[in-house]
């Protein structure tokens, strides 16, 4: 009986021990699960951190690319505006080259005047204008060619008189603040007056009284053309005038010489 009690007690102790072991096992399983969860979480955090770093780095790259893109776009805009500028300069140079080439292509006085008229009509866009030259003997400024009006209808001017006379005296170009002045022709007050100068010596003027309807105002190339006309047209007109005078003299002298040659034979 005693042995049976001892066995029963031992069995109960064993049962309690087993229960304790099971409890402990349960705790350990729970702990393992907790640890596994912690490990998993820390790995996700690490991944997240890695992703965040990657995103940061990509954002940096994007920012740098955006900056580079902006820089390239600015450079492109700069190139485009430079291209337009170069194109404009190219056209201006072509205009100036053609004008200069034509002006010096002949020594015929009337032909030179015609070329100056062509340049002022076609390249500048003037409607009514005249070329006036200073008569060295009388000191008067005499109209020699005109477009849009009869040359005979334009009066002569004295040096220092009115806009035309003042430009001829001072040798400085005149630009009216009102390029569409409708009274310009009525009072012979040009809207633009350009001196024809050989160095500082004024030989005449180009007086523009009105511009073509479509010509809104002057561009840089127009001012370049005015500058070119002031010098090159003056030289071309002066050379042609001298050439025609010397040709006349040469013809006269030649006629005399021929007369002298003929005399002894008579």
């Amino acid at each position: 009986m005693k042995r049976a009690d001892e066995f029963l007690q031992m069995f109960r102790q064993g049962e309690e021990f087993t229960k304790e072991l099971l409890k402990e096992n349960e705790k350990l399983r729970f702990r393992i699960a907790q640890l596994e969860e912690t490990i998993e979480r820390s790995s996700a955090d690490a991944k997240m951190k890695l992703y965040e770093e990657r995103i940061g780095s990509l954002e940096e790259q994007l920012k740098s690319l955006m900056e580079r893109y902006q820089q390239v776009e600015d450079e492109n805009k700069d190139f485009a505006s430079k291209y337009v500028e170069v194109e404009e300069q190219n056209n201006a140079l072509a205009n100036l080259y053609v004008a200069s080439y034509q002006l010096h292509s002949t020594l015929d006085f009337n032909e030179v005047l015609r070329i100056v008229l062509e340049i002022v009509i076609n390249l500048i866009g003037s409607e009514v204008f005249a070329i006036l030259l200073i008569d060295e003997k009388t000191g008067e400024i005499v109209p020699v060619a005109a477009e849009g009006t009869q040359v005979d209808s334009i009066p002569k001017f004295r040096v220092g008189e009115g806009i035309i006379g003042t430009v001829a005296k001072d040798g400085e170009s005149y630009f009216s603040p009102d390029l569409n002045d409708s009274d310009s022709l009525a009072h012979w007050n040009p809207v633009v007056c350009i001196p024809l100068k050989i160095k500082e010596h004024v030989i005449g003027v180009i007086a523009i009284f009105s511009l073509l309807e479509q010509k809104g105002g002057f561009t840089n190339v127009d001012y370049e053309l005015f500058h070119l006309l002031a010098g090159h047209a003056a030289t071309a007109i002066f050379s042609a005038k001298l050439y025609s005078q010397s040709e006349r003299k040469r013809t006269t002298i030649q006629s005399f010489l021929e007369l002298l040659k003929e005399k002894p034979s008579r």
């Binding site: 194109e87 190219n90 056209n91 072509a94 205009n95 080259y97 053609v98 004008a99 080439y101 034509q102 292509s105 070329i115 062509e118 340049i119 009509i121 076609n122 390249l123 500048i124 866009g125 409607e127 073509l212 309807e213 479509q214 010509k215």
Partner: protein
């Protein structure tokens, strides 16, 4: 190689237009001093586009346009008018008789090149 017939009595303008046309690749410029000269050149050479002034001696640009348009062989030949006449009615008249485009002087070279290109290199 497109052939461009430039009809202009002013040597300055002819030279300037020729200069501009040389900037379009592979173009050949044929020059004529008035409408009659242009018709002669048109009958003897192959022309792909005409650039014509209006105010010219012998035969003006408008007469030239109407004669060219009345010839079935040239009914599709592009004609661009370049003139000092800048009024709206002048432009309408030129377009009505068959011009394809109208440019008032003083011309902007880039604009001229752009219009010519739109016909020969569409």
């Amino acid at each position: 190689m497109p052939n461009i017939l430039v009809v202009e009595d002013s040597p300055t303008m002819r030279q300037l237009i020729t200069f501009a046309m040389k900037r379009i690749a592979n173009t050949k410029v044929i020059e004529a001093t008035d409408g009659v000269d242009a018709l002669k050149k048109l009958s003897s050479e192959s022309v792909d586009l005409i650039l014509a002034d209006i105010n010219m001696p012998v035969m003006d640009g408008l007469k030239l346009v109407s004669l060219v348009r009345n010839n079935a062989a040239y009914k599709d030949l592009p004609i661009i008018i370049i003139t000092t006449e800048g009024a709206k009615e002048d432009k309408e008249r030129a377009l009505a008789i068959g011009a394809n485009a109208y440019l008032a002087k003083p011309i902007q070279t880039q604009e001229l090149i752009r219009i010519v290109n739109s016909f020969i290199n569409p």
